[in-house]
């Protein structure tokens, strides 16, 4: 309780007054409903924005960068607020958030591999289907 309270955005004063957790005791996450509603609204706005990227038929780097920006913002809001990661201790946050970076490493490897596969297919089978 003490930890979540210390870092929380606008906690109820009520909870700061409840008996602080003893060493090692579990914290539960309680935040104002308003915060969730604000995040909810933002997720709607960001989803609408990413849908409009497709609706207006933007393409090329503009399209891809907008898609990625909206995706990262949405993912960040969900993990940080809905899943309460913003109020957890860094030991947990880093244990969960850092390992998926390996997926990005894997992705980089597979981009080179797939480009090479495409190159061999074009070289041996030509460009037609």
């Amino acid at each position: 309780m003490a930890e979540a309270t210390a870092n929380g955005l606008g906690q109820h004063a009520l909870h700061a007054a409840t008996p602080a957790a003893a060493a090692g005791a579990d914290v539960h996450q309680e935040h104002p409903i308003k915060l969730y509603l604000v995040v909810w609204a933002w997720l709607f706005i960001l989803s609408t924005c990413s849908y409009l990227v497709d609706y207006f038929g933007l393409h090329g780097y503009l399209r891809w960068s907008l898609i990625l920006i909206f995706m990262i913002l949405k993912a960040g809001l969900i993990v940080a607020v809905f899943m309460h990661m913003a109020w957890e201790r860094l030991a947990l946050a880093y244990a969960i958030i850092l390992p998926p970076i390996l997926v990005v490493v894997f992705m980089t490897m597979m981009v080179f591999e797939a480009d090479y596969t495409l190159f061999t297919r074009l070289a041996f089978f030509g460009s037609g289907p």
Binding site: A2, E3, A4, A6, A16, A20, A21, A23, G24, D26, V27, H28, Q29, E30, H31, I33, Y36, L37, V39, W40, L43, S47, S50, Y51, V53, D54, G57, R63, I67, F70, M71, A75, I78, V79, V81, F82, M83, H84, E88, R89, L90, A91, L92, A95, I96, P99, P100, V103, F106, M107, M110, V111, E113, A114, D115, L118, R121, F125, S127, P129
Partner: protein
């Protein structure tokens, strides 16, 4: 405001360090690493991490297939368009599914909140609402699958372009839909326990024979938000890219 404290081996307490020093101190010295997180919550996070790798690999294989094919990839904007009122609206069903899933995340977050206030009625209603939105999502996905299958999409081919489109689509959305379905089932189970007051009376679970706490609602919420999170990535990479 009180600082969180660490109990030392001689029984004295000292303030717990934060930042990088906090990480080193929490992970070292032969003690519990996740100080204020119950084992249940920590295990759910670790499960979700492993699930991240599963979906990461699906999206990676999709990326590899899409980059390496010589045949043009079917345009998702047209494939997933719906004819409403005489004109084709691109990707509209997927957009609605996204809003439904985000809304279910919102109701779940509020259910967790009311759970910690021991408001059984509101918690259970919000959880059932979450489950209903999740079921709606799965229903719309079933509609989408039916539409694509009748149009001739198969895991080995489709009328519009690269043959890998079908296998990527069925694999990724199928696995995600399975996760949503499992989530709906567990939401209903936990909502029933909340409604009945199991977490207040200390009634033991039929499967684990352990008493539960309102934290179970939060742990259930972690899973549900994760399902929403995965959809964010599928929406971006499969439908919009």
């Amino acid at each position: 405001m009180r600082m969180a404290q660490t109990l030392t081996h001689i029984g004295q307490t000292e303030p717990r360090p934060t930042g990088w020093r906090g990480i080193a101190a929490d992970w070292s010295s032969d003690q519990r690493a996740f100080k204020n997180v119950s084992w249940g919550k920590a295990m759910m996070w670790i499960f979700l991490l492993s699930d991240t790798f599963i979906f990461g690999c699906f999206l990676l294989s999709y990326m590899t297939a899409r980059i390496s094919t010589r045949v043009p990839w079917p345009n998702p904007s047209e494939v997933f368009a719906l004819r409403i009122g005489g004109s084709d609206i691109p990707l509209i069903l997927i957009a609605i599914m996204t809003f439904v899933l985000i809304s279910s995340s919102g109701t779940m977050a509020m259910a967790v909140n009311f759970g910690y206030r021991h408001d059984r009625r509101k918690t259970a209603i919000l959880m059932l609402l979450t489950a209903a939105l999740g079921a709606t999502f799965v229903g719309m996905q079933a509609f989408e699958w039916t539409k694509l299958i009748t149009e001739g999409v198969r895991p080995w081919g489709n009328p519009w372009g690269a043959a890998q489109f079908g296998s990527c689509f069925f694999m990724i959305t199928g696995f995600h839909g399975t996760h949503v379905t499992i989530g709906v089932i567990f939401l209903i189970i936990v909502a029933r326990k909340v409604w009945r007051g199991d977490y207040d009376t200390g009634r033991r679970g039929f499967f684990t024979s352990r008493t539960g706490r309102y934290e179970n609602v939060e742990i259930m919420g972690l899973y549900w938000h994760f399902v929403d999170l995965v959809w964010v990535f599928i929406f971006a990479f499969f439908y919009l890219w």
